[in-house]
Symmetry: C2
Subunit: 307 residues, 2 copies
């Protein structure tokens, strides 16, 4: 079967990794999760791992810092997906080393799941965060490892409840603060759908050595349009405050890490429009075109739950 | 003069770096700032650099990625202070390489300015963030480079306006949300004072190869005591909600990076009490004991501005 590749997921209980793990199991892949032994002491992770095991996942003990464990884990599979977090991005060089050593891996998906890191106009510290992901891309390419880079754009769960501004748990009913002029187009994708599109791509030759963009037509909105959609849903007009780019840059400069990491990522997305200000080139494919059978959750449906 | 060492500051326009730069100039050190040429395009940074230049700072063009520029810059000075942000922490290995090559640097202060990274009970991703700083410590020690590690604990500007919870610009007047039981002791230090203590230490033999802890007695509070102080100041009792450690861990596990980076740092500080749950050992010195002449801003004074 074309889609029965054995998959190892590293970071498979994390924010986005858990949805990739779920999708891998749901789509019938033999699914291996690399897990530190210490994870058992985190009740939240332990619970999640139990539910994955009940669905057939195979837990492999190990970590990015233990090269022998990494090699052993990767030997068991055909495809490796990394969903590790910011501070561990650099340690993915150990995965690349192990994949190179083993030589039989058919596809590696490094931890991306955001903007296309080769096409941004970010300021610091997002600039370096994106550059660190780009370094991993270059290392993969230098070793000739088959890859797919998943540019999934905005996590809906993080950005939609606040209409673009992380921090609120449901959309505002009185005021909206908008960075820039609010006209940049942004793509919001529900985390479950990111998991599904990611797993769809692992065995797909059309996604081999490509960037898989989740630029879903029904989920691409400017913040102005998003606020207008929300206003229509609740039958009320919000008071809008626009922050100029200079004000946004000032706030970034005056904030410590990691607050500035969030703000500078927001600047790239909402002020610069870095998710949509370029055409998809010959190095990319678009997920909803490749997999029209995936009935993804639309922004309109998503916002409906808060009305 | 003992305190006239020439100082190079890397990251000297950042959130904490700007206060180190100001203190270096104020205390009469010949002060060199390593600056990317692209910084000129950020109006906020350009303005700050102009003010530093007017106070006598010498701007050196270069970056952590340009090793030749780094070596040239470091050759000009006696002391190197790094205040680079999270995503650039790993690139400090380039500074260590340059310092080793040059061989005349009297003190290196890597980017720390938070918890003692060798003494934490953090969960991910803070765990890896602290471990990444610890790796830099180990690399410095392996090369035999003279160092001071500044453990400055909580930035007052980030944590005090919200009584421990980043996100508010002035203390709450109705409700306080408290992580854990609110009894862990936490240290709040105004950013200007962090700059001053840091510069005081660079020529001080007592701080050589030590951790400099800013464990200021007047600024060490449990969140319960801090809320009580605020309540007294405004003459009103707040409604308190306590989050159990399990609830905090659940929130961390369900949040993407970098939100989880903030939450897990908060867990280490406010739930685990990692800033004060150990005695300062022979590898450490306390800043207010070494420099009793520094009249630092107290928490009580700091909160006064919001009444």
């Amino acid at each position: 079967m074309a889609n029965s590749s054995k998959i190892l997921i590293i970071g498979g209980t994390g924010y986005i990794g858990r949805h990739i793990s779920k999708a891998s199991l749901a789509l019938g892949h033999p699914t291996f999760l690399l897990v530190r032994e210490s994870s058992a002491s985190n009740p939240e992770k332990a619970k999640l791992l139990e539910s994955f095991k009940a669905s057939g996942a195979i837990i492999v003990n190990g970590s990015l810092e233990d090269q022998a464990s990494l090699v052993e884990a990767i030997k068991k599979v055909d495809v490796v997906i990394s969903a590790v977090k910011g501070p561990q991005l650099g340690d993915q060089l150990n995965i690349i080393k192990a994949i190179k050593e083993i030589g039989t891996i058919k596809r590696f998906l490094p931890s991306e799941f955001g903007n296309d890191v080769d096409r941004t106009h970010a300021v610091e510290p997002a600039k370096t965060m994106f550059a660190n992901k780009a370094k991993i891309r270059r290392a993969i390419e230098a070793e000739g490892i088959p890859y797919t880079y998943v540019s999934s754009n905005c996590f809906a769960g993080l950005f939609l409840p606040s209409l673009g501004q992380p921090g609120l748990s449901s959309p505002p009913r009185d005021k909206a603060v908008i960075s820039g002029d609010g006209n940049a187009k942004v793509v919001f994708v529900k985390e479950e759908d990111i998991g599904t599109f990611t797993i769809k791509a692992v065995d797909d030759p059309r996604a081999l050595n490509k960037i898989l963009y989740l630029r879903l037509p029904a989920n691409t909105y400017s913040i102005n349009d998003l606020v207008a959609l929300w206003e229509k849903k609740i039958g009320k007009t919000l008071e809008k405050t626009y922050l100029s780019e200079e004000e946004v840059l000032k706030k970034i400069a005056e904030s410590p890490f990691p607050v500035n990491a969030m703000l500078s990522t927001g600047h790239s997305i909402f002020v610069k429009g870095d998710q949509t200000n370029f055409e998809i080139g010959p190095d990319g494919v678009e997920a909803s075109q490749l997999y029209p059978e995936v009935k993804y959750t639309t922004v309109e449906e998503y916002l409906g739950q808060y009305v």
